[in-house]
Symmetry: C2
């Protein structure tokens, strides 16, 4: 049944699907459509505080791997997403020392650093304050994922403009607007 | 019962609440808590395609008037939101000639212009393509509201940096990142 037990030529066609990913996919795909939408993903993902992942996080993750722009992902796209989520979770768990499902600073700064982002302590504070409307103290795993994806996109957009590696970019209004809107989570 | 029939000194204390706003507030406030959250707002607002307003639009609108950061708005904050929504709707309906609940270009460009945004035809195309994943042809009223709020925020951020009115701004990476994340819809 699994693509990787069907023989054929390695390196050709669709990538082989890991049996564990196959199991996950079937559990998430509640309506057995062979496709997962953001609602199914949201129903399956719980953050450490016992809440489902945010709508923003789920739409963002589907959108990242929905290469054919159908609003859903198939099992091959899901395998890529699964690997991506696990990469984030591994970093996150590493710094969530009390397994509370959220990270406080300065651990959050270290987690970002491990993800390849060098951010000042002030900026990490700003990100936490923005995520934790109530206490300004911590960031949950789904917020961590959304934040990493946003930073990643803005970093790429910045680098594309900073061709001389000056660390500063100059933007006209519509340029600024299109980058900002394009990289937004929604 | 209404604040504006209670006498008192005009110009002092809370603004008077319009009887129509009062009626609307009571209809939207399903749990009679005296506060409206984004879920109640979403249940009350239908766009022209018969769909509820997006989660992004509803959270954004609550957030704009939730001055005490409780995640909900009271009747005075609702009155401000109500006026704001009606301002957008008036512009939108003016250009939605067939009352379809969505605008196509070039009318969308004219609607933005009436809102005070001067955007090139190419940029209007980009915004439509981003909103209408399927056909790249039209924008619904809730997407219009989200887009206007985003453009407004980015315009203010741009102007704050463009102190010499050069039409271009120079940003270091974290400056760029904080403006972009701060102005995002979520």
């Amino acid at each position: 049944m699994f693509a990787n037990s069907a023989g054929g030529y390695p390196g050709f066609g669709q990538p082989a699907v890991d049996p564990q990913v196959q199991q996950w996919f079937q559990a998430v795909d509640k309506d057995r459509s062979g496709q997962i939408n953001w609602q199914e993903l949201q129903a399956a993902l719980i953050n450490g505080q016992g809440q489902n992942f945010s709508t923003t996080a789920c739409k963002l993750m589907i959108g990242m791997f929905d290469t054919d722009k159908t609003g859903t992902i198939d099992i091959n796209e899901f395998q890529l997403l699964y690997g991506y989520i696990n990469q984030w979770l591994t970093v996150f768990r590493n710094y969530d020392r009390d397994s509370s499902g959220s990270i406080e600073e300065p651990e959050l700064g270290q987690a970002f650093q491990q993800m390849g982002f060098r951010l000042s302590p002030e900026f990490v504070k700003f990100l936490i304050a923005r995520s934790d409307m109530k206490d300004h103290k911590q960031m949950s795993v789904d917020q961590f994922i959304v934040t990493c994806v946003q930073i990643q996109r803005f970093t790429e957009a910045f680098r594309a403009k900073d061709t001389e590696l000056k660390g500063v970019i100059t933007l006209a209004f519509e340029e600024f607007l299109s980058i900002a809107i394009n990289c937004s989570a929604e």
